[in-house]
Every structure is written in C-alpha cells, then in structure tokens.
C-alpha cells in the first residue's frame, strides 16, 4: 500500500493525536488534522487528500456535523474516499453515506474500531482504494432482521453479503469462510441475481448489494 495523504477531523485532541500516530505507524501521512466541520471542508480544498477520516459528532452543534460535511465533500469532490467514525452504530448514517456519489470509497465504522489498530488501518486503505467498509456491528444488527429481500438469500449468501459490506475482497472472503474463491464468486453472483440488481460494473454492483442490505 502506498502512503496515503489523510485529512483528519476529530474534535477530541487526545484522539486526534492518537490517530495521527496510528496512521503514521502504518506509513500514512496526516496532511491536516482539524477539530470541526468547517475546517474540514477548508482543509480538503487546500490539500486534496487521498482520503478523509472524520468523526460524526463535532462542534459547534455536536450533532451529525461531521457526517453532513462528509456528504457535502462527496458532492463537491466526486470519488473522494471518506471514512466516517461514529460513537454509535446508526444504520441511517451508513445508508446516507453509501448513497452519496456512486457509493464507492465510503466507510462507516464505530469509533471503538480504532482500537483494533491493524483492522482499522486496513479499513482506511480499503476505503481509499474505493471499496466500502461498513462496521461489522451494523452488519450484525441487520443480519438479526428477517425481512425481504434478504429473506431470499441462503444463510451462506447472507454471510458472504455481510463480509462484502465490511469491505472484504473475494479472496479475503474465501479465506474467512474457508472456501475457494470460485465458490465465493458463485455466491456473489447468486446474491446479485436474487437482489434484482441491474447489470453494472462489478465494484458498483457490490456497493448496490450492500445498500440493499442496509435499506432492507
């Protein structure tokens, strides 16, 4: 993985410094670290980073300013990878993010995941490479629900879809489920067919499948 230029928005100084150190440990450079949504927008305009990592809740309102700023940035810079960190799992956040732009290069993770440093760094790289990264907690919650259109999927296919949502590649999914990559490909084909997704480029269809998953 080449070194990424990161713009970081996090209002807690403690976490901001920690995240800079973490990213540095994995060879990524934080070109700007800011504490509110307005400064985030300015920093992106100035640095044109490879990825934005932002907290949802930030000053002045301590509502969802970070998420709003991230969505606005995706609007102004199509394809800008954005990884949003949230204190709580909120399906609505994830769905809104994935619906922005063409849905590629967005991540939504629980803040707790920063602690799993290697996983977290991998997620940053995954999102920067244009793949989705939805928190496994969101995915777990969704899997508990029994509703269309996911009803049509077999348990195995649901498992595969959940792994796609967290941003795993086919090879990684195969490793995790201890099956061949070809088997994974077949499952994905079935999922895309069962969810009635329109034919499109592969990455995009994967995103759509995740979206269908989130909206269900």
């Amino acid at each position: 993985m080449p070194s990424l230029r990161v713009v970081l928005a996090e209002d807690s100084v403690l976490l901001r410094e920690g995240l800079i150190a973490l990213l540095q440990r994995f060879g990524h450079e934080t070109v700007a670290a800011v504490g509110d949504a307005q400064a985030l927008t300015a920093a992106v305009a100035e640095h044109r980073p490879d990825i934005v990592v932002t907290d949802v809740r930030m000053p002045p309102g301590y509502g969802d300013e970070g998420l709003r700023a991230a969505l606005a940035l995706r609007e102004s810079y199509p394809g800008l990878p954005v990884l949003v960190l949230s204190q709580y799992v909120q399906r609505a956040y994830a769905a809104e993010l994935l619906e922005s732009g063409d849905g590629s290069g967005v991540g939504y993770l629980l803040k707790d995941r920063i602690g799993e440093v290697e996983e977290f760094a991998a997620s940053v790289e995954r999102v920067a490479a244009g793949r989705p990264a939805v928190d496994s907690e969101v995915v777990r919650q969704l899997l508990r629900r029994h509703r269309d259109p996911l009803q049509r999927l077999t348990p195995r296919e649901r498992e595969v879809l959940a792994l796609i949502a967290t941003g795993r590649s086919n090879a990684a999914i195969a490793r995790e489920l201890v099956v061949t990559e070809a088997a994974v490909g077949k499952h994905i084909g079935n999922i895309l067919a069962k969810l009635d997704l329109p034919p499109a480029e592969e990455t995009h269809r994967r995103v759509l499948a995740v979206l269908a998953f989130l909206r269900s």
Binding site: G18, D64, Y88, Q90, R91, D112, E116, E118, R145
Partner: protein
C-alpha cells in the same frame, strides 16, 4: 405597622387611587368611542370588528389594573388568561373570545368606566383636593395681596384667618389619610376578587407547569450526561484501546507481555461496548439527528425479538414528545423480549389530527400486568405530563397491545 410607615402607606394609597383616574377616563372613552362608532357602522360591516374590539377593552384595562397594584407595593395577581395554543392573530382572537376571563374583564371595564371611576374621583376631591385648597390659602393670599376666595365660598382677607384655614386643611388631611388607605385597600380587594384567578386554579396551573419544567430539566440532564460520557469516558477509552493496540504491534507475539497486552486490549474494547450500550439507553443520538422513524427502526433493529417498525413519514416533534414516544416503545420492546415469549413484535407510529399514536403489539402469551413493573408506570407519568395516555391490553394467551397517544404539534 410602625407609625413611621403610615405616611408612606398613605402616599402609596393616594398614588394608587390617583392612577385610577386616567385609567377610568381612558376606559370610558374607549368603550364609548368603540361601541358608538361600531354600532353606527354595523350596517356597513366595518362596525363589526369595532364592536369586537370594544368587547376586548377589558383585557388592557384589567392588565393595567393588575399592574396598578404595584403602586400599593403588592405583587400584581397573575392573569386569568391562558396562552393560545397556536401563534397568529386569528387563533389568539378566537381563544380570547371563548375565554370566560375576557367577558369578566369586559364587565369590570364597564363597571369601572360608569361607576367606580366617578365615585373615586368624588372621593379624591373630597379627601385630598378640599384640604389641599385650604392649605394653599396663605400663599395664595400672599400672592394676591388683598383677598382669596376659599373654596369659592368664603372671602379671606387677613393672614391670621388664612393660616387658620391652612391649619384646618392640615387637620382634614390627617383625618382623610385613614379613609384614603381604606378606600385603596377596598379597591385592591375588589380587583383581586374580580380579576385574579381562584387560588386553586393558580395552584393547578403552576403545578402543571412545574411538572413540565421538571420533565424538561430531566430531559436536559439526560442529554448532558450523554454528552459528558461521549466527550469524556468514551474518548479516553478509545484512546487507551488504541495505545494498547499500537503497543501490541511492537511486542513479539507469543511472549507473556504480548498476551497480557492482548487481554488488556480486549478489556478496553469490552468496556467501550458496555459504555456504548449505556449511553444509547440514556439518550439516543439518532433521535436528535433523524427523528422518530429512524430511532424506532433502530430500536427495532436492537430488539432481540424480530421486530418491524411501521412509521411512514412523521414530522419532527418537540424533544419531550419524541423522547417520551421513543422510550415508551423501548420499554414495550424490552417487556416483550423479557416476558412475553413473542416471536414477532410490530411497532407502529402514526400522526393524525394533532395526535401521535404509537402501538406496540406482540404475539406472545399475554397476561402482562402493568402494575407489576415500575417501567410502564414511569412512562405513563411521563406521558401524562404531555397530556398523553397509555393503554395496555394483554389478555391471557395474548396478544399484548400497548397503545400510547400524545397530543402534540409538529415543530415548525
């Protein structure tokens, strides 16, 4: 009463009564002008609003009367009027015309303009102007030099007689001070009887308000706690977990230190997860950001029993309403999961005709007793502050249906 306070009390009584004169005159003038012109113009319809305005004369008159009590150093009694439930001129007017207080105050304005005011003017003349004129005799005589007609009756030519007049005036004024104070007190008493709400009414209204304030304060406190946990403990735990995670990277796997760090790291992560659940139960952020439908869908997601939320598109409501609605559903879901043995739970939220209705039904074994737990009682209290209601039907064998209704208006 200390004797030294007597002159001050008399002065207050005098000021109070004197202030009534322009008020009475203004009331009379306004009533006459509005009713006369209104009646004259009534055939061409312009008069109708004028007559309506005349009917409202009592409101400013009564307000001025209540404020006038301050001159007696007594706090003005509270108004009998209630606030209209919607902003704007039309709802205000409709509200006022249907209030008993408006008509009572109009009655008072008519009484003031026709009876009280002339009587008071006469009393003030007798008690104050008369002695005043007597007291003024010596200076008047000194200015004129030859003769002063005291009270337009007697001719006074010498200063000794003039000073005798003044002395008589002072004596009269002293004598008048008691009736003056008595008159002012009687007048204030009349205002209290006619224009102040009954004590019971005030108490109930004040209690209702203070209960609503308590609920608001409770809500604000929950949010503060949630904010404090978010800004403090959670951030620190994340930071700790990150530091442990990074430290682990630098240690050879398989060593005892690595194992210990891994354990510490797992503990920090578990603490974070617990804290997250705790904070979620205090005040869910999704409710603030996205409103009820998203928050209820979220609650359904978290319910261990498969739950579906049917909410359509609801407008945003005041914080207290949304919060009460959300926690009613949460409690119902928790009860369904704990006691009912249900396989499915359905949540629905509807807003119709100024009323937010929430229902939670499950296909469990029923027989739920609302008095058994404190959860539902607390929620019923919380709803009743918003003048909402809670109903539970749970026959043995099920199904259990909990229905909450909250009268409310969407936020503008």
């Amino acid at each position: 009463m200390r004797p030294s306070a007597q002159p001050a009390r008399t002065a207050r009584a005098l000021a109070y009564l004197a202030a009534g004169l322009p008020l009475g005159a203004a009331a009379l003038l306004a009533l006459l002008l509005l009713t006369a012109s209104g009646a004259a113009l009534a055939p061409v319809l312009v008069g109708v609003p004028l007559l309506a305005l005349a009917a409202l004369t009592g409101i400013p008159v009564a307000a001025a009367e209540r404020q006038r009590m301050r001159l007696l150093d007594v706090p003005p009694p509270p108004t009998q009027h209630t606030a209209p439930d919607r902003p704007g001129l039309w709802p205000w007017a409709r509200h006022r015309f249907t209030e008993g207080a408006t008509w009572r105050e109009l009655g008072y304005a008519v009484l003031l303009a026709t009876t009280l005011w002339p009587l008071e003017a006469a009393a003030l003349t007798l008690l104050v102007a008369l002695p005043g004129a007597l007291i003024a005799t010596p200076p008047l005589l000194a200015m004129d030099g030859s003769e002063v007609k005291v009270l337009k009756l007697w001719s006074v030519t010498g200063q000794p007689v003039a000073f005798a007049c003044a002395a008589a005036g002072c004596a009269l004024l002293l004598l008048a001070s008691h009736p003056l104070r008595a008159l002012a007190a009687a007048r204030a008493r009349l205002i209290r009887v006619l224009l102040a709400p009954e004590i019971r009414e005030v108490t109930v209204r004040e209690l209702t308000r203070s209960r609503a304030r308590l609920v608001d304060a409770f809500e604000a406190e929950r949010r503060r706690i949630e904010r404090d946990l978010h800004d403090g403990a959670q951030q620190r735990l994340v930071s700790l977990s990150m530091t442990l995670g990074l430290a682990r990277l630098d240690i050879e796997p398989g060593t005892p230190l690595h194992a210990q760090l891994t354990r510490a790291h797992a503990e920090a992560q578990a603490a974070l997860a617990e804290l997250r659940d705790l904070v979620q139960g205090i005040h869910p952020q999704v409710l603030t950001d996205y409103g009820l439908p998203a928050a209820l869908a979220d609650a359904a997601d978290r319910c261990p029993v498969p739950a579906t939320a049917d909410t359509q598109s609801l407008p945003r409501f005041p914080e207290a309403v949304e919060s009460a609605a959300y926690f009613v559903v949460r409690e119902a879901l928790a009860n369904a999961a704990k006691h009912s043995g249900a396989a499915r739970v359905g949540i629905s939220a509807r807003y119709d005709d100024g009323r937010l209705t929430l229902t939670v039904n499950d296909d469990g074994r029923g027989g739920a007793d609302p008095s058994a737990g404190t959860g539902l009682t607390g929620l019923a209290d919380r709803l009743s502050v918003l003048t909402g209601t809670l109903a539970l039907t749970s026959p043995p064998g099920g199904p259990t249906v909990l229905r909450a209704e909250i009268p409310c208006r969407p936020c503008a």
